[in-house]
């Protein structure tokens, strides 16, 4: 019984220590954001990696997501002769919720894993130690550029997902539901408000920050060679995904002020 409590106590302490370390890394990274201009080259490299190189994947997934929402809602709406609602439903679902979350999930899987693997490999091959001996804080040189790049590029990717997702819905509405394309677009934008798009963009900026901090933290605390890097990468993706979905709920409630719609 004592052993069980000891184990529980050890797990709790370890968890709280890790949470504390993540917050400290976040705080340290924020203090270096003032040096963003001096590190603009590093930020640009990360913006290309996180943003530009992820656009094709986001586009493919967004177009199919838009199409599947249109198919699902379209056939239900046809029963009530309300196909005209498909456009607004696709538009609102994508811009408010699916665009940002989908982008966050894609970036966590594609970029977060790469970040954790790269930083983790640097840790286990003493490159992080070498960086420190060269009077450079890894939080400034490695984490801050990724943090800023992710916070900027995630909303841009979310906008791409919004546009492509709406186009996916349009394709289904026109080809399968017999909707008029012009009418579909008009109805969609009649229902969409700028606040819908903005709420999605704010959320995606947060998701970008989460992916960057969690992935870099896991990399910086990797130990034990290739196996350790592999575990750090898995932890980075799992924790980033979990935090994206949990924070999505709280951010949505916060942005909507607790009121639906």
């Amino acid at each position: 019984m004592t052993g069980l409590f000891e184990k529980l106590g050890s797990i709790s302490l370890n968890t709280f220590q890790r949470i504390g370390e993540i917050w400290l890394l976040f705080a340290r990274t924020l203090t270096y954001c003032g040096k963003a201009f001096a590190n603009r080259r590093l930020i640009t490299v990360q913006m290309v990696e996180i943003g530009v190189n992820t656009v094709p994947l986001v586009a493919v997934i967004a177009v199919f997501t838009g199409m599947v929402i249109a198919v699902q809602t379209g056939y239900q709406m046809m029963r009530f002769h309300a196909q005209g609602l498909v456009g607004p439903i696709v538009g609102l679902s994508i811009t408010r919720e699916l665009g940002p979350v989908m982008t966050g999930v894609i970036v966590a899987g594609r970029v977060g894993a790469a970040m954790a693997a790269q930083v983790g490999t640097m840790k286990v091959t003493e490159q992080i130690d070498a960086l420190e001996t060269l009077a450079t804080d890894p939080a400034e040189y490695l984490v801050m550029p990724r943090f800023i790049a992710a916070a900027i590029m995630l909303p841009i990717l979310a906008v791409c997902a919004d546009v492509v997702g709406i186009i996916g819905g349009l394709l289904i509405a026109v080809t399968q539901l017999g909707e008029d394309g012009g009418l579909y677009i008009t109805r969609t934008f009649q229902q969409l408000e700028i606040s819908d798009v903005m709420s999605g963009l704010i959320k995606s900026a947060f998701f970008g920050m989460i992916v960057a901090i969690i992935s870099c933290y896991q990399g910086l605390t990797a130990t034990g060679g290739a196996e350790g890097v592999g575990k750090a990468t898995t932890r980075a993706v799992v924790l980033s995904l979990t935090l994206i979905l949990v924070s999505d709920f709280f951010l949505t409630v916060l942005i909507l002020g607790g009121k639906p719609g």
Partner: protein
Amino acid sequence: MIEIRGLHKSFDGNHVLRGIDLDVEQGETMVVIGRSGCGKSVLLKLIIGLMKPDRGSVVVAGKDVARMNRAELNELRKTFGMLFQSAALFDSLTVGENVGFGLRRFTDLSNTEIAHKVAEKLELVGLSGVESLRPAQLSGGMKKRAGLARALAMDPQIVLYDEPTTGIDPILSASINEMVRDLNDRLGVTSVVVTHDMASANIVGDRIAMLHEGVIRCVGTPEDIQTSDDPVCRQFVEGRADNDVEEPIVKSGGSGNV
């Protein structure tokens, strides 16, 4: 220059350093010898503040490294150069960018001046013309020499060498020994060299300290160490395998600190 007092360090219950006392004078080359895994590299990391001691102090230029904040530590580190056992070159940068890393970040030198200085340091270690190569394209010995060029790029006052001659051929090994000696004689650089290569220790060291079972077992000039009566010291110097004891296990990567 470097005063180490009562230094203790443990990893997961493995008490690696058990009260190190050692002084390194300004301009001196101190060689720390000892068996693999006895904590020599840990000692170097404690000197440059990459690890915090459990007890004891490392005072560099009058200041306790463990009590410095990050900004003070970074200022101090600008006066240090460190050669890692694995060279630890940044694999996302070219060799030239690796060597010029500190110069680009902390000096106002133009790109041309930096390129000139990088070429000069690479020439010093016998690696001219490899600026545009990636570390992955270099052999083990070349990586080590590029790491040495990076450590020397900022003209440091103190240089820490972690196994500088391990993994390179005898001729290059001799030239690195000469270089360490030359830096000490010509520029008065203070050096701490960690090695288990006794030939190298005898050439580069003004003094040699033997680390054994977590403490400094003996310290003296190379001649003192060669003629030491201490049985452990004699066994190491003569490279005898009799009365061998099990190798200690050091888990220096287990701290997991950010």
